[in-house]
């Protein structure tokens, strides 16, 4: 009897060790990421093997499984580069190159990032203004809101080349056309979120403002605006992510010289898969960083306002 209790205690002790590791999100997420890397390696071997075998046979070399495995990892233009190849390339182009060099990914990232941020700023402000208009004016709401929604059924990313070329024809080049595409993508989530947020104060709060004889201006600054901030930040996270997508796609047409999108395009022209993947990875890291940045700002602002969630 005593022994069984002891083993039971031991067992639960063991289980809690594993369980605590896997109970939260961190454990499962990192395990899945690990699995992803393993799958990636397996995929790289599987997809690059035919080419490697072909070369072995052309050179009439006897090869073992180990040789094949090694050969799939070091190709110059693999069908699927192995993760470490991408990391090496990223290390080479991010850390080893001077920032001003045309081959530095930091330089290209900055080109993309600058238009992302410009478009994000304009789109965010435009979205907020539209939302304020829609909330305060019935006619605007009725006539504009359906068009705000249907504006997004136009695949702007698809017409990005035209926007770039047309704006180029009237002398706008470089940063601004890309930023305009980002703006167009950005304003929508902000408008939708802010309309919701500005309307989030309940009847009770609105009535209180009225009993205080608050002007519409005061109601806006003291009630509607603070109440809408959580909604605003949620929208901004979505907005900055698609703003980056807009900037990247904006670089695809017209053979842009610089930027992550240009790297993608150049890579696809010359079959430089490692270059494509490293540009893609950099873009992903950039997107994650931007979203995290907004998240940090959100936490700080909401905490200072006493709205910590």
């Amino acid at each position: 009897m005593a022994m069984t209790t002891e083993t039971a205690v031991l067992e639960t002790g063991k289980r809690t060790l594993l369980a605590t590791a896997m109970a939260g999100q961190a454990g499962p997420v990192s395990l899945l990421l690990l699995a992803l890397v393993v799958i990636w390696y397996a995929g790289a071997v599987w997809m690059n093997a035919p080419w490697a075998i072909d070369r072995f046979e052309k050179q009439k070399i006897d090869w073992s499984a180990g040789d094949l495995l090694r050969a799939t990892m070091v190709q110059k233009r693999p069908i699927l580069p192995a993760p470490h190849q991408v990391l090496v390339e990223m290390n080479k182009t991010i850390l080893q190159k001077k920032i001003t060099s045309k081959r530095s990914l930091i330089y290209h990232s900055w080109v993309t990032l600058s238009s992302t941020l410009l478009g994000f700023a304009i789109g965010g402000i435009l979205g907020i203004l539209l939302a304020v208009g829609i909330v305060h004016n019935r006619t605007l709401e009725k006539s504009l809101m359906p068009w705000v929604i249907s504006s997004q059924t136009i695949p702007i990313l698809a017409i990005a080349p035209m926007v770039i070329v047309v704006l180029g024809a009237i002398g706008l080049r470089g940063l601004v056309p890309k930023a305009i595409i980002s703006t167009y993508l950005c304003f929508f989530p902000v408008t939708i979120g802010m309309v919701k947020g500005l309307r989030s104060p309940g009847v009770l709060e609105m009535d209180l403002m009225r009993t205080f004889n608050a002007s519409p201006w005061q109601t806006f600054w003291m009630l509607r605006w603070p109440a809408s901030l959580p909604f605003l930040f949620t929208s901004l996270k979505v907005a900055i992510a698609i703003s980056l997508v807009g900037a990247i796609v904006g670089e695809l047409p017209t053979g842009a010289q610089a930027g992550l999108g240009a790297r993608l395009l150049a890579g696809s022209y010359y079959g430089q898969t490692i270059q494509i993947w490293s540009a893609l990875m950099t873009a992903a890291v950039l997107a994650a960083l931007l979203v995290v940045l907004i998240g940090v700002i959100e936490r700080v602002v909401l905490k200072r306002m006493g709205m910590k969630r």
Partner: protein
């Protein structure tokens, strides 16, 4: 409105009077309003309606419709004037006239936007009419600005030119539509959403996967996934299969995340009820949890309907056979055939909206029980 002048009516009147005093067209062929008697008559009518509105306001829906009818007439006359020598060198008299029309439009639309009816159909009609008229007005403005300032067609063609091009090249547009939409978008959308749904059901059975995949899936939605397009083109070739592959990847994660979230939407009360009925996993899945997840699933379907089109078109920038909407857009831009590009954009927008609309209608039919469809009284 009693005891006070209507501001928009006054504005319309003022602009109409101002228009009367200014020339219709300047530049090389100056033209006065007196040179176009029919135009003058319409201008006076607009001014008259403006005065009436300023004095009496717009008392009812019928009056609002009458005001908008005047605007419509005025817009037709503006287009006629355009053809009659104003195009390219419109002067302040003409723009003043447009401003007067604008003031009347705004007043009329505002009146109809405030329309309230207990009869559902009438309310819906009003709700449709307001944005529709507003949209037509924007198209009209676009046309006027393009023609009036003589904007070169390479920059921004007027809607009429786009329409003519659209009608003239229906066969090319149809081929592109079939290549991009019917082949790449539809197949990619079905596979991507289907795979996302199936994986979500699998994930739902394993809590471990659920905790791991949800944050990952949420993060993926922030990543620029369109970037995989060049890789897919390399893997699957130039034809529509590579575009479908991009669409699959783009639509997979929204579907996965939304379905997994939706499957945990059923309340504890309902789940307990199912258990007390002794229903198994599949029974409670089909009869309760999937039903409760439907709003989330349709949310993903709607998000994906726009994502899919974007993915397919962008993927075509990285290489295509000589057909397809993305291909056409990028080549015609190169040739400066901007009207053709706009025609293609129109088709894309139409396809996108229809796709979205059909999904929304299906949603309405399937999730009719959801509170958001209750009519507000």
């Amino acid at each position: 409105m009693t005891g006070r002048w209507d501001r928009f009516g006054l504005a319309a009147l003022a602009f109409a009077l101002l228009a009367l005093a200014l020339p219709l067209a300047g530049g090389e062929n100056p033209l006065a309003w007196t040179g176009r008697p029919a135009g003058l008559a319409v201008l006076l009518a607009v001014g008259g309606v403006g005065a009436l509105v300023a004095w009496k306001g717009v008392p009812g829906t019928a009056a609002a419709l009458a005001v908008l009818a005047t605007v419509f007439l005025g817009a037709l006359m503006a287009m006629k004037l355009m053809d009659g020598g104003v195009a390219g060198n419109a002067s302040w008299g003409f723009w003043s006239y447009i401003f007067a029309l604008w003031a009347l439009t705004w007043r009329g639309i505002a009146r109809i936007a405030a329309y309230r009816s207990m009869v559902n159909e009438r309310q819906q009609m009003a709700n449709f009419f307001v944005p529709a008229f507003f949209g037509l007005w924007l198209l009209f403005l676009w046309q006027m600005v393009c023609l009036g300032f003589g904007v070169p067609g390479v920059l921004l063609p007027p809607p009429s030119a786009i329409f003519i091009k659209l009608i003239g090249s229906l066969d090319i547009l149809w081929e592109d539509f079939v290549q991009t939409f019917m082949k790449a978008v539809i197949s990619g959308y079905v596979i991507g959403c289907g795979a996302g749904f199936v994986v979500a059901i699998l994930v739902d059975r394993v809590p471990f996967l659920k905790r791991g995949l949800l944050p990952l899936g949420n993060m993926v939605s922030a990543l620029p996934i369109v970037g995989v397009a060049p890789i897919m083109v390399m893997w699957f070739g130039f034809d529509w299969q590579s575009k479908a592959a991009v669409v699959v990847i783009m639509t997979f994660f929204p579907m996965l995340v939304n379905t997994v979230t939706g499957l945990s939407a059923a309340g504890a009360l309902e789940l307990d009820l199912m258990r007390s009925y002794g229903s198994g996993y599949w029974q409670s899945l089909f009869k309760l949890r999937l039903q409760a997840a439907m709003p989330f699933i349709f949310n993903a379907l709607k998000i994906n309907s726009t994502l899919a089109l974007i993915g397919a078109i962008v993927a075509e920038f990285f290489g295509t056979p000589t057909v397809g909407m993305g291909f056409r857009i990028s080549t015609e831009v190169g040739r400066m055939n901007v009207d053709m590009v706009w025609a293609e954009i129109f088709v894309a927008a139409l396809a996108g909206s229809t796709f979205y609309g059909v999904t929304a209608m299906m949603e309405r039919a399937v999730t009719f029980w959801h509170p958001s469809y209750r009519t507000k009284r």
